[in-house]
Symmetry: C2
Subunit: 218 residues, 2 copies
């Protein structure tokens, strides 16, 4: 009657279980004990497949980084970078906990590959070294920073609603803020500040690349 073979623990099984928990309840509700219980295993068994909790989280981040879309080779560089940027944002929205740890640790292969892809696109634009550097940081910081901010705004305190905040504020000191919060409470078809800034950056880089390429600077 050995019909109840438990499928053996693997790094992949652990990471996937952790992803499921984090997507549902946030990264902070992962503890080695609860995770092991969810996997129907002893707490310390996990350590046969994972060095420690930090590396588990690294592995989780790498796992979702692998799902970010890359442009096919030969694509227009601006479209290519834009695709990576938008896809990164989409993926991070799907895993809201991830952006909090994304930049806190050294990248793994998947994230290096992503960075390589962006640099590759920028290089094909013909930007000089210093502007490639500028462009990479502008794009990366925008994507991760902006996404983090919008996620924090949504999720910062689960129970509270925007209109409750407005009600607690002193109308004399914060008239504009109250207007702004009310504006958000009604849901206007709002401009997307993520794409707004992203395209500002890309268009400007494009302009600088053309100026540099034709040698007619200034």
């Amino acid at each position: 009657m050995a019909s109840e073979q438990k499928s053996p623990l693997t790094q992949k099984r652990i990471v996937h279980a952790a992803l499921a928990v984090a997507d549902r309840d946030g990264i902070h509700s992962i503890s080695m004990r609860t995770l092991a219980t969810a996997l129907d295993a002893g707490t310390m068994s996990l350590y046969n497949h994972i060095r420690n909790k930090d590396e588990l989280i690294d592995a989780m981040v790498e796992d979702i980084a692998a799902t970010i879309e890359r442009p096919e080779p030969g694509a227009d560089w601006k479209q290519g970078v834009r695709q990576i940027a938008v896809s990164t944002r989409t993926v991070l929205h799907r895993h809201p906990w991830a952006v909090e740890v994304w930049s806190a640790r050294i990248p793994g292969p998947q994230r290096w590959t992503l960075m390589e892809a962006i640099l590759d696109q920028l290089a094909s634009a013909g930007l000089p070294d210093d502007l490639t550097d500028l462009g990479l940081h502008a794009v990366l910081n925008h994507v991760l920073g902006h996404t983090r901010q919008e996620l924090a705004a949504v999720r910062s305190n689960p129970g509270t609603h925007v209109q409750d905040l407005a009600a607690e504020l002193d109308a004399e000191r914060f008239p504009h803020v109250i207007d702004h919060l009310r504006y958000h409470a009604e849901d206007h078809p709002t401009h997307d500040s993520f794409l707004f800034v992203l395209d500002l950056i890309l268009d400007r880089l494009d302009g600088m690349a053309r100026r540099h390429g034709t040698g007619t600077a200034h």
Copy 2:
């Protein structure tokens, strides 16, 4: 011989002590026990002045938010917003731990005031409601997001150096990344992507405000 009067515990004294610890060792090395020890007090005594650890951190953030420079009234709106943005970044660089918790919780009075100031400047630019909304998010997300990213890059793993990272990477898979890391190891006079993007945003908003103001939209 009552010369050893211990100065009484106050919220202010606790917050300042916590700030000193956080600035030196990071937010994670603050625990209620170590903090109390640093103040030469019992752990639970702190709770007479502070509801819980989260509110202590809120108070710390508010304390440093108060040090951000605001424009004097009547200033040019673009310069005004720029000043707040730059000063916010400077202050966050002075307290690197703060940006990690900045957006994670609901703002207090100081941060509402800051938001009010930005909205006030944008309003004086004559932008319509939807563009004010766009501008606020573009600016706020840029300032906090970008600053968080640059701080994370610097501080993510204290021991490691850039050139060590480059040495570990596969030269065939990550040629651009390795170049980029090497480029950073030599210290070039690098463009400031923070100001680059900030000015892109402000100039564009300015352009839209003018178009809107003169009624000659497209």
